[in-house]
Amino acid sequence: MTSTLDTAAVHSPQAFTPHTPGSAGLRILKRLPTWLTIAFLILVTGYPLFWMFINSLKTNADFLNNPSYAMPETWEWANYVIAWETGNLATTITNSIIVTVPSLVFIVLLGTAAGYALEVLVFKGRGTILLLFLAGIMIPGQMIILPLFTAFFDLGITGSYLPMILIYTAGGLPLTVFMMATFFRAIPREIFEAATLDGASMTRSFFAIGFPMMRNAIITVAIVQFFLIWNDLLIALIFGGKKSLNTIQVGLLNFSGEYGAINYGPLFAAICITVFGILILYLFLNQRIMKGLAAGAVKG
């Protein structure tokens, strides 16, 4: 019965017709809008990425003299070497990793512990504290960067990775605490209480039971925060402005400004490198990423 709910059923009023034998031609015709829609979606999403790739393999003369949708005359793989070296990609990618990984570890550890404390444990004022964390989701980064810049400058740590790690950690906590509290809500209290009967404290029951049980939730949280931190520009611009601290986003932007205006191939190549890195991650984790990001939005 469900199979009759078919093509464009939702869009056109006359679409609901039961299958009758011999109407194959009609069925194909009715399927046409669907196929066209899908083709359109694939084209609009995929073609710009393909276009970027073919242009990353062109020489300057090729790019300037031929239509941009034409295939490269010669495949200039050297563009990638130039992009990698001139664009300082090794340094900027390393910087991004140095900043992202510790932030993720801190967010997961602190956020899960706080989510557990606020949801499982019972004490006065926990509702208020949860609300306090929630307010953080709304606060724009612009509202905190100037005092932080002032403070970090006075402390003399603006030339290090520390400001970025601290801000990413703190900035990731509101959503993480809230998400973890929601996840803990689904687990019966008895599980944690039972552990204490065997003589474990609630702290131990968190590390022995709570944390491991949250494995899936933690992966979700980590995925959400990874993309937020990896793709961030504002904090990275302000606290990673020094060339040796440039994250991949800032590095790419600078490369485009200094060099990309006249060297098209290497600029396209540099964009491709950053995109393909994410693509590889996405190929392996796409279902988890999609579910995780959607969960993050609904809970946030």
Binding site: L5, S68, V122, Q142, Q249, L281
Partner: protein, 293 residues
């Protein structure tokens, strides 16, 4: 049993680190930033008290009004596109493609995870007009239309920003709403069908009302993000040409880091925060009304 769950030591040990980091890095700076609005200067030049001058300046500054207008225009337009197109995609996934939607879903979602800077640079090239036409102008010229200097004027640059941000995020809203549509029980739709509901009335009376909560959640999430737009505009147009595509976030960034006025920068940041707060309040007021009806 309550005493076990009220374990003081555990509460302190587990909650304090997160609360401390959050208070020091987020909450305290919010208050401090509020204090900065009464000063002028920066960390390099030193701060100087100037009373309510920043606020007077805020109301007289035409750039602030331009930036506020741009922010609202952008946030409303992009939010509508994100939610409506995302809903369209979700309907396509759930009712037309169904089990076979995984591939399309996965592909359309991909731009969501791409770095904004990379996407913005790609769009600069797609919409380029000099020294050679980008893909979009080539298409226009091939069908006999004139090439457009997309990023050379405020109006067309705005169009490019909106197209880019919708392209970048619509797959996300598709999946988000789709996950909500999955919760509509099949038998409700089946029984409505048996009762003779046709596609349009099925959609109008069953699917649409039942997807309102998820549409509402998407709307909140969308407006909360679009009102703080920074990355995509900064990387695509840098606010230009002139000031024509400068949202509040970017104007604040410029004031603080190019013109070294942290005091006035904080004042603009405060305006932005108040805007976010207002939007949140309005949304929650209207949602409460929805629930009581």
């Amino acid at each position: 049993m309550k005493s076990v769950l009220g374990d003081r030591k555990a509460i302190t040990l587990l909650l304090t680190p997160a609360l401390l980091v959050y208070s020091v890095i987020i909450l305290a700076p919010v208050l401090w930033s509020f204090g900065l609005t009464f000063f002028t200067g920066s960390v390099l030049t030193g701060f100087e008290w100037n009373g309510i001058e920043n606020f007077q300046r805020l109301f007289r500054d035409p750039y602030v009004w331009d930036a506020l207008w741009f922010t609202l225009k952008y946030a409303i337009l992009v939010t509508i596109f994100q939610v409506v197109l995302g809903y369209g995609l979700a309907l396509l996934y759930n009712f037309v493609l169904r089990k076979s939607s995984v591939l399309v879903r996965t592909l359309v979602f991909f731009p969501v995870v791409l770095p904004t800077v990379a996407v913005a640079l790609l769009y600069q090239k797609l919409f380029q007009s000099a020294p050679t036409d980008g893909l979009v102008n080539e298409l226009l010229v091939n069908v006999g239309l004139p090439a457009v200097d997309w990023l050379g004027a405020g109006g067309t640059a705005f169009v490019v920003i909106v197209i880019m941000d919708v392209w970048r995020s619509v797959g996300f809203y598709g999946v988000l709403v789709f996950s909500g549509l999955l919760d509509i029980p099949d038998d409700i739709i089946e029984s409505a069908r048996i009762d003779g509901a046709r596609s349009w009335s099925l959609f109008r009376h069953i699917v649409l009302p039942m997807s309102l909560p998820i549409l509402f959640a998407s709307f909140i999430f969308s407006i909360n993000g679009t009102i703080k737009v920074f990355d995509s505009v900064f990387a695509l147009t840098g606010g230009g040409p002139g000031n024509s595509t400068t949202p509040l976030t970017l104007y604040m960034y410029r004031t603080a880091f190019q013109f070294s006025d942290f005091g006035y920068g904080s004042t603009i940041a405060l305006l932005l925060t108040v805007l976010c707060l207002l939007v949140t309040l309005v949304i929650f007021r209207s949602s409460r009304r929805d629930n009581t009806v």
